[in-house]
Symmetry: C2
Subunit: 280 residues, 2 copies
């Protein structure tokens, strides 16, 4: 699913193929989030004509905001890192001529966005050799940003900047579980999700990408979703992992590119959730 | 359910019984919201020991924030309007010695609150002779406030202050429907909600009181809930009505004090929803 260096041949040795300093690419990620926020915010809570790109009757809105932000991000990446690949929700995949692949979703949580709820976010992920390297989740209306560095995860809001960490949770009976909507599950998936919800302390819907940030901050113990695309999770994986959490598919395999994802703040809850979700 | 003047006897003629200027009581409502926000915010996203006041296994957290805010609100009301009644979620009902009854819920959306999601709100309603007179919904983390005046509804955020209005919606097929969680419905109620959801354009969960504000702003067409208490709706009714919407119980009766509530931005959608929810 990812266009990475490996797919392009290991013998390629362009200038763009050299590894870059982490600080440089993290600065790029923040700049992209800034650009996206400026492109998106004028559309938030405006009375948009929301287009419908649904197939088979599923409502899946795309806004002008999405496209404007993705165009701004792609232009900036072409300027800063012309050899980097770009995988986005709206536009054509730009193959990578380096070991770097940006994976972006300008407005994750389009339903929340069109309703006016501030729990959508701009997702900017970067994979290196096909593995998640860093992520930024930006919420420009509330002024919140969550991101990963090489060793930790941080957030900033109008109150300042701080490290964030998941919280301990001994097991499902203590866990707060969330997903965006039960409609995201196929029937067999829904049965497993409901079996998990029956064991959890509390279940709540409606978080979109924002719920993963709450998990990284220690407000949520478990996010279980399905029907996801690569750009839904790429930015979130490093944020959750550097905050001390664990995120995989429902069988315990890599989350990047998986449709079924389980994220937990505590490895014990992650293992307990896998036992319910992945069995059989 | 409400302690109003009428229940205290129409012949009572204390000083506090005189009607006050609307501007005076609206200023009080804003001051109460300010006080509540200052009491609540230090607790938001702190690692609280959340108490559980659940009965029969239902998880219904109460935080220190709730109690601190309600205490601050009650003290301020006792100082400004000693004859006014106060009905709150946390503390004893304070009977009214006037035609005014404040109806408050310091943290509506406690589940969102403990998860760290900014879609909870402080609800401050005022009833006059048992009828909703004004309401304030405050979200101190995002810096948003929604309120009603005598003739319109307004909101302010960090971008400024403006009038708000519901949007036109011709019928259910165009309507965005929301409720906090399907768990709020009893089985018979859930069947009716699902019948409604099947006809709506889109359904989303997780809004709490914030969803009613989105309806008043024109981002949502229909909010349908059940299991509500008087303090869940008292502040929202005037905000929705002055914004051009309609809010009643599922049979079309008054929303104040009703457990089953339907709010719509357009009267056509309200009528269509009643036909599905209230029938039989």
């Amino acid at each position: 699913m990812l266009q990475t260096h490996n797919q392009l041949g290991d013998d390629m040795t362009s200038h763009a193929d050299a590894d870059e300093r982490f600080e440089t690419i993290l600065a790029t990620a923040h700049a992209l989030a800034d650009l996206a926020g400026r492109a998106i915010l004028p559309h938030f809570r405006s009375r948009l004509a929301v287009e419908n790109k649904a197939k088979a009757g599923r409502f899946d809105p795309v806004t002008e905001a999405d496209r404007a932000a993705e165009a701004a991000i792609r232009a900036e990446l072409a300027r800063r890192h012309p050899g980097h690949g770009v995988l986005g929700e709206e536009m054509e995949n730009e193959p990578s001529a380096s070991r770097y692949q940006w994976i972006i979703d300008p407005v994750d949580g389009t339903r929340a966005f069109i309703m006016g709820l501030p729990v959508w976010g701009t997702l900017i992920g970067l994979a290196h050799d096909g593995k998640p390297l860093l992520g930024v989740l930006d919420q420009p209306y509330t002024g919140e940003r969550f991101w990963s560095t090489e060793g930790r995860s941080l957030m900033r809001d109008r109150g300042g900047e701080r490290s964030i960490a998941t919280r301990p949770c001994a097991g499902l009976a203590e866990a707060i579980l969330t997903c965006t909507t039960p409609e995201m599950f196929k029937p067999a998936e829904l049965g497993r999700f409901q079996a998990l919800a029956a064991r959890a302390r509390m279940t709540r819907y409606g978080g979109d990408c924002y719920a993963y940030a709450m998990l990284a901050m220690g407000g949520v113990d478990l996010v279980v979703e399905a029907g996801l695309k690569t750009f839904d999770t790429a930015a979130l994986i490093p944020i959750i992992e550097r905050a001390g959490g664990r995120i995989t598919d429902w069988q315990g395999g890599p989350a990047l590119g998986a449709a079924q994802v389980v994220a937990a703040g505590d490895a014990r809850v992650h293992a307990a959730a896998l036992a319910v979700l992945g069995g059989g």
